[in-house]
Symmetry: C2
């Protein structure tokens, strides 16, 4: 395969996207319950190789990831209250503070979906505000776990999170029965406008899927298949 062919841009809507640009959309994710140190090292090395935007790892693996990625453009993202979002508020605040202290540059916070489904939206807003206030200089993402929400709830929590000042809304934890859909990305983007970006995540495994999600408005793609997607982009 020629170098020229490798760099052929992919199309979404009327825009082009090169493999190098594609890498900047990808948040390479490893949140399996049995992820080892060796797995994390491999993940970070692949992120450096393709200049991925970020890696997303368990809090326990933040120091290791940070050490490997030091001096590279790829940031370290970790998760707060993951994947159920239903621990106590103080714990989520403390987890966020500690993760930042250990070197996490971005925090993906799972909203308390039980509170959303119980109609306690004020609690959800208060919790997110406190978490954001704990680390003012860090990019926060609210994971809203779309698969459990009605359309009205998706809009409501997006509005709440935008009001709190998050950098991104993320569709899914990857642990629910369903991941990102084009329709949900469009809905969230429509509520957000330019106040924050949309991270599509959950069961994203192919290049055409990524291109559709970007076309729908996703600014970032959270996936554990970043490597395979890049290889698909470079080979096509």
């Amino acid at each position: 395969m020629s170098e020229k062919k490798k760099k052929k841009p992919h199309h979404y809507g009327n825009k082009h996207i090169s493999p190098a640009e594609l890498g900047r959309y990808i948040e390479q994710t490893l949140l399996t319950p049995n992820a080892t140190e060796a797995d994390v090292i491999k993940l970070c090395k692949s992120a450096i190789r393709y200049n991925f935007c970020s890696v997303c790892v368990h809090p326990y693996y933040v120091p290791l990831s940070k050490a490997i990625l030091s001096g590279h453009e790829t940031t370290v993202t970790t998760v707060i209250g993951f994947p159920l979002g239903m621990t106590m508020k103080n714990i989520k605040v403390y987890e966020a503070m500690q993760a930042a202290l250990y070197g996490a540059q971005e925090l993906d916070v799972v909203l308390n979906i039980g509170a959303v489904k119980s109609g306690n939206l004020d609690y959800v807003a208060g919790e997110l505000s406190e978490i954001l206030a704990a680390n003012k200089s860090i990019v926060h993402t609210a994971i809203i776990e779309t698969c459990y929400l009605t359309e009205k709830e998706k809009s409501a929590v997006t509005e709440i999170a935008a009001g709190c000042g998050v950098g991104f809304i993320k569709t899914s934890t990857g642990f629910g029965p369903k991941g990102a859909t084009d329709k949900d990305v469009k809905l969230i983007k429509n509520v957000l406008k330019d106040r924050a970006g949309v991270k599509a995540s959950g069961n994203i495994r192919t290049l055409p899927q990524v291109m559709r999600l970007i076309k729908s408005g996703a600014a970032r793609i959270g996936t554990s298949a970043g490597l395979e997607i890049m290889q698909e982009a470079l080979a096509s």
Copy 2:
């Protein structure tokens, strides 16, 4: 159905077990990602009705469960580092302290399975010791998530947890690809002897399954189908 028939004991090995005794084995569990306040209230009421040993709820729902179960025999169990066990040690310690402060009477702690799989057993032991030291008068359970472990690892973490002084070893979170098996219950019991009990959990849905697990050595059954299992026992 006559009252006499309702009270017919079920058999496991050469022992008998009545429906009333069966209720004392059951830890009625609600750890779904979208559990509402209404769901928790329903759960606690069913636990009172059948005098279940315990309910197991998200930390967020400890105060609500505690308020409903006050004055009843059923205890409130909650989960620490659930279901992935891979947040930072300090967070798990703080979560345990806070959960006890809010009224939890038993704590089910997910071990850091990533650390187990990376061979860092000293870390796992240290973490569990610190969590137990934070609440000395409370019953702790170590969830070892058997589905990700080799036979050797299952024995090793059981030995570690017994050494730390847990009250129970629990087989599964219910979020992994596989739940409790008779074989795993026997293996854990064989390592433990009388130092602690075995809680079987994960995908337990029928009375015959419960009777087999008790026969294999389980002292407690963690299940979200406690109601259905009791109804099966009362009808048979």
